[in-house]
């Protein structure tokens, strides 16, 4: 990740059920930075993330990825990874089959075995995802981030159903990713401690 990436949001607003969730939201995120989005339930955190992934259109405003509108950018989906409330795993496939599929669709860096070892799932390669616990499934979804090459991570409550040790581990991964020139946008209910990175906060 040598070249610098930049995500810019201009005057974003989101309306849901005639209620304005947020209005005129501006931010710029460059390589090495983490953006933490805070807010009460229903404040529009997930809606904002889905706007940032391009799934949802903002009522007004626009988003630029490396100076290109994300809906026109050919690189945005190559560079962005999203983990939402659902893990995007097939429960009838094994852990390894799920990761292999993810790798076939994107550029890869780490091998599957290395990524699984990093998230503490070594030895579970051939286990059906259905048989993993909720926390382990979440960890497998996060392992997908590690084994594919995506500079921009967009994470919706990544720490859901993780234990305290795993949360610590993932905060480290996020820091490493940012320090290697990655960008992270995340929402979290937990107190997120990332002392070694440039962190911006948006409170909705």
């Amino acid at each position: 990740m040598t070249h610098l990436n930049k995500l810019e949001a201009y005057q974003l607003s989101c309306v849901r059920d005639d209620r304005i969730l947020f209005n005129e939201l501006n931010f710029t995120l460059t390589s090495g930075q983490v953006l933490l989005i805070e807010g009460a339930n229903g404040a529009g955190k997930t809606s904002l993330l889905r706007i940032l992934t391009g799934f949802r259109r903002a009522e007004s405003g626009h988003l630029l990825w490396n100076e290109e509108l994300i809906e026109n950018s050919v690189h945005f989906y190559e560079d962005a990874a999203y983990i939402g409330h659902n893990n995007g795993l097939k429960v009838a496939l094994t852990a390894q089959e799920n990761l292999r599929y993810a790798q076939a669709l994107s550029s890869t860096t780490l091998t599957i075995d290395d990524a699984m070892a990093k998230v503490g799932l070594a030895g579970y390669q051939d286990t059906l995802v259905r048989l993993l616990s909720a926390g382990q499934q979440r960890r497998l979804a996060l392992a997908r981030l590690l084994c594919t090459h995506k500079p921009l991570w967009i994470l919706d409550e990544p720490f859901t159903s993780l234990d305290r040790a795993s949360i610590k581990l993932f905060e480290q991964f996020i820091e490493t990713h940012a320090n290697q020139g990655g960008l992270v946008i995340m929402t979290s209910h937990h107190e997120t401690q990332l002392p070694h990175t440039l962190m911006q906060k948006i409170h909705l």
Binding site: R50, T53, F55, R56, R57, V74, H75, Y77, E78, A80, A81, Y82, G84, H85, N86, N87, G88, L89, K90, V91, A92, L93, E97, R100, Y101, A102, Q103, A104, L105, S106, S107, T108, T109, H149
Partner: protein
């Protein structure tokens, strides 16, 4: 260390994964097949074993049964992916979504329609069809069933956001299935009366290629819409 993924890799990975999933749920594979066989079996029971009548209407029965069987399984095309978040994963790749959609549709065709192709000659024999007419029937099924999956894909993508899209799906899709049904039955009619069938088959080929090139685009657009 960075390895990029080629479109061909991604394309085959999507098909491979869907085939693997179908294999893991192989009990469900039987459903459209059993439906196909049972619907066809009902006709001789209701009409009586009059050979000339059965022979006459057998191709129509088999085609309509294949069409309904395809409709029955088409909803699975994107539903599971939509529910578990894999669809988002499929959108967020460097590859054009329409090509990956085509891979999914091909996977669906292999899983739901190809088994029907294998059992259709047997059904034809049961209804006293002549061997050369069975051959024509097989040809029309081979050219026509992929079109059913391709067109069905658009409607499935459009109705993903609805909780119970089943009935609406049938209403949307069945009228679009009509042209392919007409060309297939006229090809079989021509074969039965001894006329040349190449014209009808060429038309079906044209529809197939048109569907392969055009339907993935609206399907991909509808999928993106359903994610918002």
């Amino acid at each position: 260390m960075k390895k990029t993924s080629s479109l061909l890799n991604a394309f085959s990975a999507v098909i491979k994964r869907d085939l693997l999933l179908a294999y893991r749920f192989r009990a469900e594979l039987i459903n459209p097949l059993a439906f196909f066989v049972m619907v066809i079996t009902l006709f001789p029971l209701a009409l009586g074993a009059e050979i000339t009548l059965l022979k006459r209407i057998a191709p129509a029965i088999i085609w309509v049964a294949a069409l309904l069987a395809s409709l029955m399984s088409i909803e699975n095309l994107f539903r599971a992916d939509y529910d578990d978040g894999s669809l988002e994963l499929m959108v967020m790749t460097p590859h054009p979504l329409s090509i990956l959609v085509l891979a999914k549709v091909i996977g669906h065709w292999l899983i739901s329609s190809v088994p029907l192709l294998f059992i259709a000659p047997l059904m034809g024999m049961m209804l006293h069809m002549e061997t050369d007419i069975i051959g024509v029937l097989m040809l029309t099924l081979l050219l026509g069933t992929p079109v059913l999956s391709l067109i069905g894909g658009i409607a499935v993508a459009l109705t993903l956001g609805l909780r119970k899209g089943g009935a609406l799906l049938a209403i949307l899709v069945l009228p679009l299935y009509v042209p392919i049904l007409i060309f297939a039955s006229s090809a079989i009619d021509a074969a039965m009366t001894g006329f040349a069938i190449s014209g009808h088959l060429s038309m079906m080929c044209a529809i197939l290629f048109l569907a392969i090139t055009l339907t993935p685009l609206p399907t991909a657009a509808a999928l993106k819409m359903s994610l918002s």
